[in-house]
């Protein structure tokens, strides 16, 4: 059977009806959105793998027990499960996500800024290199919305449902996040210029 032309809801129905390959297609279709959303919140590859696996164990148990009632909203539902597991983890650990500036991330390797001086380019490179760190500096509710919107590809309506806030609040948090990131980047750029 060709699963590529099936929508998520049809795949869920096929899976519940015993077609294991339908779950494989749902995983193939959504794994990077779900995994990246988890990873960006926990910033630990092994922990993200564990939470991703636990998320799908819950998904499988719910689907196979016939308790799934989120018709047409498979991805937001899975992301809500993942989000709750991340919250549970941090609650158990009694800590908030760690600020890290890991793995040699060189943002502007692939982009050209031909009108800039070498100095300006270095400043810009350094500024963008720290984007990941800046995201981790955001208040958790703003970071959550940015991650769900960008990596989970979720609508603000779905984000609002997952985080138990109004759509206006979800939109406001996204705007706070973008404004704060821009201000942090401007501040960083300015401080690099002053020290160079």
């Amino acid at each position: 059977m060709n699963f590529l032309n099936k929508n998520d809801n049809e795949l869920v129905e096929l899976y519940v009806g015993g077609k294991e390959a339908a779950l494989a297609e749902l995983l193939r279709r959504h794994k990077s959105k779900i995994y990246t959303s988890i990873y960006m919140l926990v910033k630990d590859e092994f922990l993200a793998e564990d939470i991703f696996q636990d998320t799908f164990i819950k998904v499988i148990n719910t689907l196979k027990s016939g308790r799934y009632n989120e018709e047409g909203k498979f991805l937001p539902w899975v992301l809500r499960i993942a989000h709750n597991l991340v919250i549970d983890f941090f609650r158990k650990e009694k800590r908030t996500p760690v600020i890290t500036n890991g793995d040699g991330f060189d943002i502007f390797d692939v982009l050209g800024f031909y009108d800039e001086s070498i100095e300006d380019k270095m400043v810009r490179d350094q500024t963008h290199k720290d984007l990941k760190t800046m995201i981790q500096m955001l208040p958790s509710e703003q970071k959550e919305v940015l991650i769900m919107r960008h990596y989970g590809d979720m609508s603000f309506k779905d984000i609002a449902e997952v985080t138990n806030v109004s759509i206006n609040t979800a939109l406001g948090r996204m705007r706070y996040a973008l404004n704060n990131l821009r201000k942090l980047m401007q501040t960083k750029e300015l401080s690099l210029k002053l020290t160079s």
């Binding site: 779950l23 990246t36 499988i60 991330f105 943002i107 939109l171 706070y176 821009r182």
Partner: protein, 61 residues
Amino acid sequence: MIQISTQDLQLLLLETREELSHTIGAEEKEFYTSIKPELNREIRNPHESTIDRIMAYSKGV
């Protein structure tokens, strides 16, 4: 490494809260578009072994 004090950050966030309404304006959209390529570089996938374990679990339920 970034060297911005917590106090500076709090001031920045406070200023931002005061000037915001609950919409995403053209300026924010433009900024978001400008950082999308960098954000996209963070997209990653779980290991195949994790997918295999999930599928194995499913078959066993």
